[in-house]
């Protein structure tokens, strides 16, 4: 049985819940009072993850930290269709790895700005916002050119991968950090596509898409 050390408002925890929902996995939750309790810095939690970061999973004794690593593990182990992390497709795995690292950069910028604006984290929010806009511009162009080639997802496949799940939450929550997506139409369309994946689930601050309609 999988146990998720979880905080509802964390986009990095949400991406694990999202993939597990899509894969139809059962799991139990240990809620961690991240804010304002700072329980992720408590002794008991540091014993589980010395980095003091969420999420962490415990799958029958295998303890894993880092959202992107957990996504890779869950997809590689439990995705019977082998599409979310296609184990034998080296080219695609390379692309996935590239966008997983991009997801970490989104966390370092867009998520940081959100923590500053909503939860009073003491950091340079303007620098975080500028960094997020730089990433969003790159992401928007990549998605826009993809649409021209008939590619709907981040990586060169006819289906979404864990890279889409990794990048989605903090893009979707960016406005809470004062980062508008108004200038990124391809990102907005991609967000709607992610929301229409079978098994999609929401977190607080993320709303479901309406049903897709032909123009």
């Amino acid at each position: 049985m999988i146990t998720l050390y979880d905080y509802e408002l964390s986009g990095n925890c949400y991406k694990i819940r999202l993939l597990m929902s899509i894969l139809g996995l059962d799991y139990t939750v240990v809620p961690v009072d991240f804010y304002p309790g700072r329980e992720h810095k408590s002794d008991w939690f540091l014993a589980i993850n010395p980095l003091g970061q969420l999420p962490v999973i415990d799958d029958d004794g295998l303890v894993l930290r880092d959202a992107q690593a957990i996504l890779v593990y869950l997809a590689a182990k439990y995705d019977a269709g082998n599409s979310w992390y296609p184990r034998e497709n080296a080219d695609l795995l390379g692309e996935i790895g590239q966008w997983m690292a991009f997801a970490d950069s989104i966390t370092a910028t867009a998520s940081a700005a959100r923590l500053h604006d909503a939860l009073f984290y003491d950091l340079d929010a303007e620098a975080a916002r500028a960094g997020a806009h730089r990433l969003f511009r790159i992401l928007d162009e990549h998605l826009w050119f993809g649409e021209q080639e008939g590619r709907d997802w981040l990586c060169s496949a006819a289906h979404p991968t864990v890279a889409d799940i990794a990048c989605f939450p903090y893009v979707m929550l960016s406005e809470e950090g004062g980062i508008s997506r108004q200038d990124y139409p391809a990102i907005r369309r991609w967000c709607d596509r992610v929301k229409r994946i079978k098994g999609f689930t929401v977190m607080s601050g993320v709303f479901p898409a309406g049903p897709a309609k032909a123009a």
Partner: protein, 286 residues
């Protein structure tokens, strides 16, 4: 520099400026109240000092309910009394202060609104097709508080311990312009009420910080669960609030068209007009 406040009723009142859990002796905590930038420092002996950045003067401050409170003027009355905070079979939990880019008056009004439950808190405080807000009572009490009672709404998961959907009874009370409370029946001791008091910090006219204070009966629930549920619900409201236009609350009765379900909001706006509250509002045309 944001606009300063000239409403005496707000300047001479106490406002929450921080959850004590967010203060640390290691670093000053910066915030803003009624347009005035403040720096909070923890001094020796755990004394909290609140200083105005514009003139360096100390601001009157005190601690209560797990929060630090400040008054920019001369307090005309004491901090809002929460009688349930004296009952020792309750958890007293700060819900986790969250900043919202909207006037605090909008946040209070949203807290009073049941109509949005099925659409914003889908699967928790409401769901379709149970969207009708049944008529409820609204009155102004002799203590000059606004009370909405006999509020009933079907909620799929009304509380962290709810096992099934049921019709929940609410009482709302607007206590001060930026303070509102909600009473709902406890699922275990049905004759007693759990209480959420929402202290809204008017940061400036277009920004606020919501400081929820929860007094829940301990029976069958732990404090962390109470807090987590509050954050789950409030974080669903946040993007909706931040997309309200205009950010300030219009007090002119012709500005926004209410429906019957908004009876308490209509009275709240009138009550604000009668108190000459303008900060965070768009005043009515005379």
């Amino acid at each position: 520099m944001s606009a300063l406040c000239s409403d005496r009723v707000l300047l001479d009142d106490w406002h929450v400026v921080a959850d004590l859990a967010n203060l640390s002796p290691q670093a000053p905590f910066r915030t803003r109240l009624l347009g005035v930038d403040l720096t909070i420092r923890c001094r020796q002996g755990d004394i909290k000092q609140v200083v105005r950045n514009d003139n360096g003067q100390n601001v009157r401050a005190t601690e209560r309910y797990g929060f630090l409170w400040a008054c920019l003027g001369n307090p005309a009355r004491d901090i809002v009394a929460v009688p349930e905070a004296l009952e020792d079979d309750r958890h007293f939990v700060t819900g986790g202060s969250i900043a919202v880019r909207v006037s605090g008056l909008r946040a209070v009004e949203n807290f009073l609104d049941m109509g949005h439950f099925p659409f914003v808190h889908t699967g928790w405080l409401g769901d379709e097709p149970h969207t009708e807000v049944a008529p409820y009572k609204v009155e102004l009490t002799p203590d000059d508080e606004l009370v909405a009672s006999e509020c009933k709404f079907y909620q799929p998961i009304a509380s962290p311990t709810a096992k099934e959907g049921f019709i929940v009874e609410y009482i709302y009370k607007v206590i001060r312009p930026y303070t509102v409370a909600l009473y709902k029946s406890n699922p275990v001791q049905k004759d007693r009420l759990d209480v959420i008091t929402l202290f809204v910090q008017p940061v400036d006219e277009d920004n606020c910080i919501a400081h929820p204070f929860l007094c829940y009966l301990k029976d069958g629930i732990d404090a962390a669960t109470v807090r987590a549920f509050m954050q789950l619900i409030f974080a669903q409201d946040k993007p909706i609030l931040e997309n309200q236009v205009p950010k300030r609350l219009p007090l002119d009765p012709r500005a926004e068209t209410p429906i019957r379900a908004d009876a308490v909001a209509v009275l709240y706006r009138r009550w604000l007009r009668d108190k000459s509250v303008t900060y965070g509002a768009i005043p009515a045309r005379s």
